[in-house]
Symmetry: C2
DNA sequence: AACAAAACATGACAATTATCATATTAAAAA
DNA sequence: TTTTTAATATGATAATTGTCATGTTTTGTT
């Protein structure tokens, strides 16, 4: 099994602020495994007793409603930590985590890492910064939900994914999502999301290869009213 | 001017985890002042260089859109800290803070408190917990905006304000908000909020004395579909 | 290849919510 | 107090978005 102290992934998250000794200790108690696409990593109401370091793949944090809708609140990709909040709070998770494609993760038990959060100020400050960033993003989403149309929100979702998760060599978005996923990010009905994407295609803002989406006119998307 | 180390307000926020020495030092550099209702405390895009401890009153954190709408993301009341994120992040604020009634606050410069955040793990863990709580609340709002109707969201806003900010001796909500404020919390048009409140009144779920609102049937509000 | 299942797509219509117009009432200012 | 202004209220209508129906394409499986 790989060693945390040598793992490149840690550069992208708060774990980079741990000392070598701390990393060695964590490395010895972590569990490394693969998660198949569609697998529920943890459920709403579940009490997490650790944090996942995402080595590869992507997952969604979402909440199911009674009528079967599943609002996606955040996507966690390669390099990021999943379930950070469980380190800090005793409350159970209000969200469900589901793998959107095949993933490789390391699970670090809370008991092993909580002491570092108390003792290593650089680490805890890093986690704090991460949390502050997430909070700012969440606030922005609230404002968007209230003030922007489905069309605008979907355009922004495409831009966000394009800018933050990157593109394949052929220019298509590297994160492959279903139309239903897009609807659940934007907070609309699947049919509405499909309709808007069809319109974007007609307008030359995007093109599609199967279910892959390629952004053709980024500025055009930004100008959507 | 009052002294932080003797201030009762600090019991309700992370400052309680500072040592007496730290509090004395902070007390000497804080600025204490009153803010009139309607005053903008800080604007969107502004870089905060400190944090406000709210001794009395209430303010809103919101964002204005081009069409004049002002989405309220969070309300900060007596006892809480305003602008915590500025301690952690160098980014400018994405939100505006406006006093909803007359306030008394203490402003603590970032330069004085940032060292404590690095050195006092108990304090930084407290801030971390606060931030985690805010994040959870923000996530819940996102989900509500996507999955619930205006009627449901307004009912929940009334319940939230009732449960978290309390009521006056006569039973009316202690936080006095305009119909427009309610609309801006829920993320709807002012007229829509007014209409729903009128309906709640007809249904006996609330009563009104002027613009004051009294919750008459809490369980009824919870059952709104 | 043939079949089944899932995802995508689009039309028709319904429900929700926003916008505009216009009273009415309450609060603030002269 | 009178006047002016702002907040609340409600109707009429329009715009947006959701829902249901149904067909097509894609994907996966035997």
């Amino acid at each position: 099994m790989g060693k945390c102290e040598q793992c490149i992934i840690k550069q992208f998250n708060s774990l980079k602020s741990l000392t070598k000794d701390e990393l060695v200790r964590i490395s010895n108690c972590k569990t490394s495994y693969t998660i198949k696409k569609g697998t529920v990593i943890f459920e709403e109401g579940e009490t997490l007793n650790g944090v996942y370091c995402v080595k590869d793949g992507i997952c969604k944090l979402s909440k199911l409603s009674e009528n079967g809708k599943d609002q996606i609140v955040k996507m966690v990709v390669k390099g990021q930590l999943l379930g950070q909040r469980s380190l800090v709070s005793e409350e159970s998770s209000n969200l469900q985590a589901t793998a959107l494609n095949d993933m490789e993760v390391c699970f670090i038990p809370k008991s092993e890492i909580i002491a570092d959060l108390q003792k290593n100020p650089k680490f805890s400050f890093d986690v704090l910064q991460d949390m502050a960033h997430d909070l700012k993003e969440a606030d922005d989403i609230i404002v968007n939900m209230a003030q922007k149309s489905v069309k605008q929100r979907l355009a922004e979702a495409l831009i966000y994914i394009h800018d933050n998760f990157g593109v394949n060599p052929d220019g298509t978005l590297s994160v492959l999502l279903s139309r239903e996923d897009f609807a659940n990010i934007v907070g609309t009905a699947t049919e509405s999301a499909i309709r808007v994407l069809s319109q974007f295609k007609k307008d030359g803002l995007i093109s599609t290869i199967g279910k892959q989406i390629k952004v053709e006119n980024l500025n055009g998307l930004k100008r959507i009213e």
